[in-house]
Symmetry: C2
Subunit: 145 residues, 2 copies
């Protein structure tokens, strides 16, 4: 049977190893993240949960998202304005984003070479537990006109 979710964790405990209780709220957040494609802010996700009467508080949304980031189940970026955005990691391969300054349109790009380079550089300086963030900004074809 094909895995429609792209292999994404289905259950709360699967997604959040650092957690002991299995709650309705966490399941709701997971379910929502499974449905949406792009990056959304915690506030946006909370609004969506309100809209579907999921009964999940904003605080819990923040806390759950943080757990998921820690567990590596979701990616997070930051908007130029400082707002944090979250999104399900759809591909096993790590990737980056090409973001339009004007309309916010996002294109995913893979950069295996960059990954390796970052790891090497960090290792050279004795850093461990390494991660990185890379965003490319520009004006997309739509917004140039």
């Amino acid at each position: 049977m094909p895995d429609i979710t792209g292999g994404w964790a289905d259950t709360v405990k699967q997604a959040m190893p650092n957690v002991t209780r299995n709650t309705r709220q966490r399941a709701e957040v997971l379910a929502l993240l499974r449905e949406v494609e792009d990056f959304h802010s915690a506030q946006q996700l909370h609004q969506m949960l309100l809209a579907r009467k999921a009964g999940v508080g904003l605080t819990t949304v923040y806390r759950t998202l943080q757990l998921l980031v820690d567990a590596g189940e979701i990616d997070s970026t930051r908007l130029p304005g400082g707002e944090q955005l979250f999104r399900r990691c759809s591909q096993s391969k790590h990737h980056h984003h090409l973001v339009c300054r004007d309309c916010g349109r996002t294109v995913e790009v893979a950069g295996p070479a960059v990954e390796r380079w970052a790891g090497q550089v960090a290792a050279q300086h004795g850093f461990v537990d390494v991660g990185h963030t890379l965003e490319i900004f520009g004006t997309c074809p739509e917004c140039v006109r």
Copy 2:
């Protein structure tokens, strides 16, 4: 005569074309930025100005930094926590940072290959006026112990 400042704009009007008045406060901010090496937050810079009794308000620090970013005279990044950091563009060559999660220690690293790659990727998607940000995070040798 050698240019000690690394060719960095010396005067207010030089640094901020989009400005008409030449004020003491702006000169103070410029002077400070000329002296500090690494990234600092607006708040940190303001503290330094207080320490040297420069008489520049926090609001003005923010406004001046924004003018300088717009003018392309300083770089800005964002910490994982969302705080914005500013730094004089000291080198013509673009480079990135390896930052310790715990102590904040920063190592500059050059990545010419990454630059080229980012430009290519963006061009492939028809994006123009391209820039990028790349930060590598990890735990530095000091903080591992």
